[in-house]
C-alpha cells in the first residue's frame, strides 16, 4: 500500500478485507450505504438514527449487522482523516483505491465527499474549542424613577443577560450599563466586526 493522504499511521489489517467485501455490493447498494454514512457525518448527534438505518440496510440486503458495522468503521476512517487534513476529492478517491476499493465505488464516494465537504468542514470548525462561548444575549432597558438616596432621578439603564457556555454548562451573567457605556460598547463591537471581516 502506498502513502495515504488521510493518515500517516498504519491502517488496521481488517481494512483490506472490509474493502474487498464492499466491492461485492452492487452500485445501488453502495450508493444507499454511502447515503446513510453521509447523513450521519453531517448530523453526528443522530447516533440512534444511524444505527437504526444501518440495521435496516443489513436486513434489506441480507447482510449480517456485525460485519457491516466493521465495514462501516473502516470506511469512516477515510472521511474523518480527510476532514482533519482538508483533503480534496481526488485525494479521497486515491486513498480508497489504495485501500482496495474499486475505482467505480471510490469515484462515487469521492463525488459525495465533494458535495458534503463544505457542511462537514463547517461542523468541524464549529467543534473547535471555544473558551466561555457566548451563546445568547437578552436585554432590557428602562428608566430609574427614584431611589432611597434620590427622590427623582430619570436616568436610563440598560441590562444585559449574557448566556455563556462554561465547559458543558450554561451560565447566565447579568450586567448593567449606563447609556454612555452602551454607546461605547456598541462602537467597540463595530470595530471588532471590521477587524474580523478583514481576516475572513
Amino acid at each position: 500500500m502506498g502513502l495515504l493522504n488521510f493518515t500517516h499511521e498504519p491502517v488496521p489489517e481488517a481494512v483490506s478485507a472490509d474493502m474487498h467485501n464492499l466491492n461485492q455490493l452492487s452500485a445501488q447498494q453502495f450508493s444507499a450505504l454511502t447515503e446513510v454514512l453521509f447523513r450521519f457525518l453531517t448530523e453526528p448527534k443522530e447516533v440512534e438514527r444511524f444505527l437504526t438505518q444501518l440495521s435496516d440496510f443489513a436486513t434489506m440486503n441480507k447482510i449480517s449487522l456485525g460485519p457491516l458495522k466493521n465495514i462501516v468503521k473502516s470506511i469512516l476512517l477515510v472521511p474523518n482523516g480527510a476532514l482533519k487534513r482538508n483533503l480534496s476529492s481526488e485525494q479521497v478517491r486515491a486513498d480508497f483505491i489504495a485501500l482496495g476499493l474499486s475505482e467505480e465505488k471510490a469515484s462515487y464516494f469521492a463525488e459525495q465527499w465533494k458535495v458534503n465537504s463544505p457542511t462537514l468542514t463547517r461542523l468541524a470548525v464549529g467543534q473547535t474549542l471555544m473558551i466561555n462561548q457566548l451563546i445568547d444575549m437578552e436585554w432590557k432597558f428602562g428608566v430609574t424613577a427614584g431611589s432611597s438616596e434620590l427622590e427623582k432621578v430619570g436616568s436610563i439603564f440598560l441590562q444585559l443577560k449574557l448566556v455563556i457556555k462554561k465547559g458543558s454548562q450554561l451560565e447566565n451573567v447579568y450586567v448593567e450599563l449606563t447609556l454612555p457605556q452602551f454607546y461605547s460598547f456598541l462602537h467597540e463591537m463595530e470595530r471588532v466586526k471590521t477587524s474580523l471581516e478583514s481576516f475572513s
Binding site: 476532514l83 482533519k84 487534513r85 482538508n86 468542514t121 468541524a124 470548525v125 467543534q127 473547535t128 474549542l129 471555544m130 473558551i131 466561555n132 462561548q133 457566548l134 451563546i135 444575549m137 436585554w139 432597558f141 430609574t144 431611589s147 432611597s148 438616596e149 434620590l150 427622590e151 427623582k152 432621578v153 436616568s155 436610563i156 439603564f157 440598560l158 441590562q159 449574557l162 455563556i164 451573567v173 447579568y174 450586567v175 448593567e176 450599563l177 447609556l179 457605556q181 452602551f182 454607546y183 461605547s184 460598547f185 456598541l186 467597540e188 463591537m189 463595530e190 471588532v192 466586526k193 477587524s195 474580523l196 471581516e197 481576516f199 475572513s200
Partner: protein
C-alpha cells in the same frame, strides 16, 4: 416633610465650636459619605476636635448626616430652598456657611448617589482581542478569526465605598455570534432613539 427635628438643629449649632470653616466643610463631607452604621466611630473621631461630649458629638454627626442626605434626596439646588430648611432662630452665619458648603458639594454628591444606587453588577471596563485559530484537534489547518471579549464587572457599589469587588469575565465570540449581537445592539440603539425623540 421637615428635614430635621428641632433637637437636631440644636445639635448642628455645636458646629459653632469648630476650629475653622474648613473643619466644618470636612465634617459635612464625612457625614454625607458615612453610612448610618459608621456614624458612631465618626462621632468619636470628631468629638475631641469640637470639645464636646461623646453624646453631643453623636447628635451632631447624625444631624449633619440627615441634613446633607435630605438635601440630596430632595434634589434641592437653590440657596433659598436650603436656607428655608433651617428654623427661624438658627444662627445666621452658621446657616449661611452650611448652605454654602452644601451647594458646593451638591452636584458631586448627587452624582455619587446615582453612581452607587442599587443595580445589577455594573460594567466598568471592556477590552477585546481578535485571534486567528490556525489548528485544532478536529481540523489540522484553518484560519478562523475569533473574538475574545473581556468584561470587567463590579459587583456592589456602596455610597462613597472604597474597595468594590471587580471580576473579569472573558468570553469568546465567533463572527456569527458577533453579527447577531450587533443586530441586537442596533435594535437597542433604535429603540433608545425612539424614546429620546418622544
Amino acid at each position: 416633610m421637615a428635614a430635621l427635628r428641632d433637637g437636631e438643629f440644636a445639635a448642628l449649632q455645636i458646629l459653632l465650636k469648630a476650629p475653622s470653616k474648613d473643619a466644618v466643610r470636612q465634617l459635612c463631607q464625612e457625614c454625607f459619605c458615612s453610612p448610618p452604621a459608621a456614624l458612631g466611630p465618626l462621632a468619636q473621631r470628631a468629638g475631641p476636635g469640637l470639645a464636646v461630649s461623646a453624646e453631643e458629638a453623636e447628635q451632631l454627626v447624625s444631624a449633619l448626616h440627615n441634613l446633607t442626605r435630605h438635601v440630596v434626596y430632595r434634589g434641592l439646588t437653590r440657596a433659598e430652598d436650603i436656607l428655608c430648611l433651617f428654623p427661624e432662630n438658627f444662627h445666621q452665619n452658621l446657616k449661611n456657611l452650611l448652605t454654602k458648603i452644601i451647594l458646593e458639594n451638591i452636584s458631586a454628591w448627587r452624582n455619587e448617589a446615582q453612581a452607587s444606587q442599587i443595580s445589577l453588577p455594573r460594567l466598568v471596563d471592556m477590552d477585546w482581542r481578535v485571534d486567528i485559530k490556525t489548528s485544532s484537534d478536529s481540523i489540522m489547518r484553518m484560519a478562523v478569526p475569533t473574538c475574545l471579549l473581556q468584561l470587567k464587572i463590579q459587583e456592589d457599589a456602596a455610597l462613597c465605598g472604597n474597595n468594590p469587588v471587580v471580576s473579569a469575565l472573558t468570553v469568546e465570540l465567533s463572527k456569527e455570534t458577533l453579527d447577531t449581537m450587533l443586530e441586537g445592539l442596533g435594535r437597542i440603539r433604535d429603540q433608545l432613539c425612539a424614546v429620546a425623540n418622544k
